[in-house]
Subunit: 219 residues, 2 copies
């Protein structure tokens, strides 16, 4: 591995955050902050001009937000900067930010409260072509993988049989298929789907399926 200095650009609308990051990163012998930006347009411009190894970007910024920056730089469009890995750093771990960012090619997703250690680790990981995601977000990503360790509170609303049926609905099964699977009559399946529907407040079976995915009952 080439042991040269890793060049970093920080994009955040809060000067204090930029200053704090710079202190932390410049304290590392192999890291160097070479630029800053206070909004999305500045982040894009600076990244395209300096082509840093790492761009730390906040999600919420004036102008194009962090997600848009990720899309443009990490994509394969005309304005992409392939040699720059973009790490998203933000305050809140909202799903609506996490998934698009990671899907669109972010090389990491950190929370500001994670502390300086993980920030440095995330940069080193990104330089190795890896990705570090904040532990608090990772647990949710894993939940999409987990054999449902129960938001028992929400699921308690449904009876065992209803939950079973709801899970199969979420897989795209018709009532007849569910009936065959569970060895009951299609009419009974309709009963279960209907009560599950009523209990979770859905207007049709797709709503039941959506609920099943949200709660982790289905995956």
């Amino acid at each position: 591995m080439a042991d040269v200095t890793t060049r970093i650009v920080i994009a955040d609308d809060q000067a204090a955050i930029r200053h704090g990051f710079r202190l932390v990163l410049d304290a590392q012998p192999d890291l160097c902050v070479v630029g800053e930006a206070a909004d999305g347009a500045g982040a894009l411009a600076t990244a395209r001009l300096l082509r840093p190894d790492i761009l730390l970007v906040d999600v919420r910024m004036p102008g194009p937000d962090g997600l848009e920056v990720v899309r443009q730089l990490a994509g394969d469009g005309p304005g992409a900067v392939p040699e720059t890995r973009v790490i998203v750093v933000t305050t809140f771990d909202l799903d609506e930010y996490v998934y698009p960012a990671l899907r669109d090619g972010a090389a990491g997703y950190l929370l500001k409260r994670s502390g300086p250690t993980l920030l440095v680790e995330a940069i080193r990981a990104a330089m190795s072509g890896e990705a570090l995601v904040s532990p608090s977000i990772t647990v949710r990503l894993l939940r999409g993988l987990t054999a449902s360790p129960a938001p028992a509170t929400a699921r308690a609303a449904l009876t065992e049989r209803e939950a079973e049926v709801a899970g199969l609905v979420a897989q795209g099964c018709t009532n007849a298929e569910i009936a065959a699977e569970l060895l009951i009559s299609p009419g009974t399946v309709k009963t279960h789907v209907a009560s599950a529907q009523r209990k979770v407040g859905a207007r049709n079976r797709v709503g039941v399926a959506a609920w099943a995915w949200r709660t982790g009952l289905a995956r």
Copy 2:
């Protein structure tokens, strides 16, 4: 939160590894290694006896392997130890270990080459109910987030309009509602749903919704 010492047990068949971990962890003021085990049976016995906050466990061990230890301790069976979070630490990042471990409730998955910093961070994350996964593994998990679960790849398969319709389908909207929302005729909505269905390989609209949820198009 009680700011007491985090009690740790190390299970690894190599004494040198156990020794190294102990040095690193005991150097932290708030961490304390209270036990060691050299095989799976010992890991289970020690965990059940000491009920530590953290169990670091290697995957490859004599007797029950690390995955079995995770299953038994993190499950809800008779031998489970709910207050102990199990972090898997191993040398190789093989999928056949990673996925089962995380699915069965591991509170983290680390590579030994990750270094002491991430080890300490992983323990702190686990104590907060979070999970730290090695960056080199995270990239693969993310890859599975974008592409792998769908046989036909990315959203690029769908046209913009189809994706829009698919998103509304995932919200539980009927064709008529989607039509009203997008200001097009219900018949056109049916066309879009049908082609989205065909492209993602679904048998009905619930399958389209499932795909939208899996790929993150819908939330």
